[in-house]
């Protein structure tokens, strides 16, 4: 705990600094920043969201996201960088979860349920105990994309590029792990290492997502664009790219809608993703009815 809490601290920045925005004044309005941040986030979240869908990690991702508030609390308590605190706690919880669900008699579902909600509860309690820190918990729960700063965007793009580079480099290993861990193992694709890598990448994206849509809606922005892209993708690569594009469209549409109707941006982005998902579903059903996807055609 910090020694003498005499002053109140206002936390506005992931990086924990209060730098004036150094970027040019033309672009320096909150909407441009929000768009740049949201689109950058979506490009990375697309492929990762696909893995969440393919490997049924939605609940797992939820648990990681909920533990983010615990990360915030710890970072505030020990005056650490918030983004790093969240990343560390998410990763820690994910690794503990892997071990616990292997060994305990509880089903994975129950273990996840206990951890997911208790990390959120513990985080909420801890943050509210810290009377010397004035934070708006709602910003963490529902995101605060309109307050994103250029320095945060730089961190987001640097981290996001790194995640995309790793995905590119390990793509075959990740896909073969998703199809069959045993085939991946027989053909020296190192499925165990790859699984850990995926968890690390998820922790990164979850930490970034807190600012964009908030803890509560993180998983929504991972899985809805992926599920929407599934409906018109024949290969994993197309689905990943489609999820990125749909995610970016959701951000643009959601932010516009948020300004137009004066609704909170995070939930508006998710609602927009949902609309795109439903439109996609209707579209692919219609295409199917007109013979577009009438099963396989086989010469007899």
């Amino acid at each position: 705990m910090p020694s003498t809490p005499t002053t109140t601290t206002t936390v506005t920045d992931w990086t924990g600094r209060f730098l004036p925005d150094g970027a040019g004044e033309v672009m320096d309005d909150f909407l441009s920043r929000a768009l740049v941040a949201g689109i950058g986030f979506s490009l990375v979240a697309g492929p990762l969201g696909c893995f969440v869908v393919w490997q049924r990690l939605a609940y797992f991702g939820d648990t990681m996201a909920h533990s983010a508030l615990l990360g915030v609390a710890l970072a505030l308590a020990f005056e650490l960088n918030i983004l790093l605190g969240v990343f560390g706690v998410c990763l820690g919880i994910a690794l503990v979860l892997g071990r616990v669900s292997d060994r305990s008699g509880l089903s994975g579902d129950t273990t996840l349920g206990i951890l997911s909600h208790s990390t959120l509860a513990v985080g909420l309690v801890l943050v509210s105990l810290m009377y010397w820190v004035r934070v708006d918990i709602l910003h963490f729960l529902f995101g605060n994309i309109l307050a994103v700063t250029w320095s945060e965007i730089i961190v987001l793009y640097a981290g996001g590029s790194l995640v995309l580079a790793v995905l590119w480099w390990k793509w075959d290993a990740l896909i073969s792990l998703t199809v069959s861990e045993q085939i991946a193992s027989a053909e020296n694709m190192g499925p165990v290492r790859t699984r850990y890598l995926l968890v690390v990448l998820l922790a990164v994206i979850v930490a970034f997502a807190m600012k964009i849509v908030g803890i509560i809606l993180t998983v929504a922005l991972l899985i809805i664009p992926a599920a929407a892209a599934r409906q018109f993708s024949a290969t994993p690569e197309r689905m990943a790219a489609g999820a990125s594009i749909i995610g970016a469209l959701s951000v643009v549409g959601g932010l516009m809608g948020s300004l137009e109707f004066d609704t909170p941006p995070g939930p508006s982005i998710v609602v927009n993703a949902l609309i795109l998902f439903i439109l996609g579903m209707i579209g692919s059903r219609l295409a199917g009815r007109h013979g577009g996807r009438s099963g396989r055609s086989r010469p007899k």
Binding site: W54, S185, E187, R296
Partner: protein, 245 residues
Amino acid sequence: MSRVLVGLRSVGVQRDHRWLLHEVDLTIRAGEIVSMIGPNGGGKTTAVQVLIGFLPADAGTVERAEGLNIGYVPQQVHINATLPMTVRRLMKLTGPQDDGKIDERLSELGVLDLSESPVQQLSGGEFQRVLFARALLKDPDLLILDEPSQGLDIPGESRLYDQIADIRDRLDCGVLLVCHNLHMVMARADTVVCLNRHVCCAGRPAQIASNEEFVRLFGPDIAKSHALYPHHHDHRHRLDGEVSS
């Protein structure tokens, strides 16, 4: 003798204080077809998982030739419906592949017309053949097939074994077949390993059929019918047991 591809040396695998495999020895050499038989729960799949490096051995050692290239056809693969995957894309699962070569392998196994189909639409038998074609793409040194004859009728099964023998001849690869059809195994394998948590017997098919433990496991009738299954000897025995030319 040809080179050893993989070997299990006194391998044990323990789960919840129970040995799934105990003191198992197994060697597969290049150009050899080894069939693994045994009752359900006898540890066949566990042994395969140790061989491919998916499960660690709790006792003993696993030897693997350096740079060993394994083609593995699992018993079943469940591909989540949310994962878009065509047959052609599946063929490139663990690395890039030439499209011409893919078509060649698919057509060898009679599934070329499915190349653009989503894998989730294939029947069990079709999917098995697609997985087999995939395993052959990398010209493996060792081919491991876990219950490849599932869902095949008897002629189909017979063709499959012919194909496996052809592939062995062409690639000079070792083959490990996990199998439950004793009839086929006894007729076609070079070596049979009968696994019931330990190796209950191993050897040439004819030797196995008269093994006491084998008879106990599979019943005297089955054992007898296989002992009578025609097989070729390069020698004869006189009545007193001496080998005559």
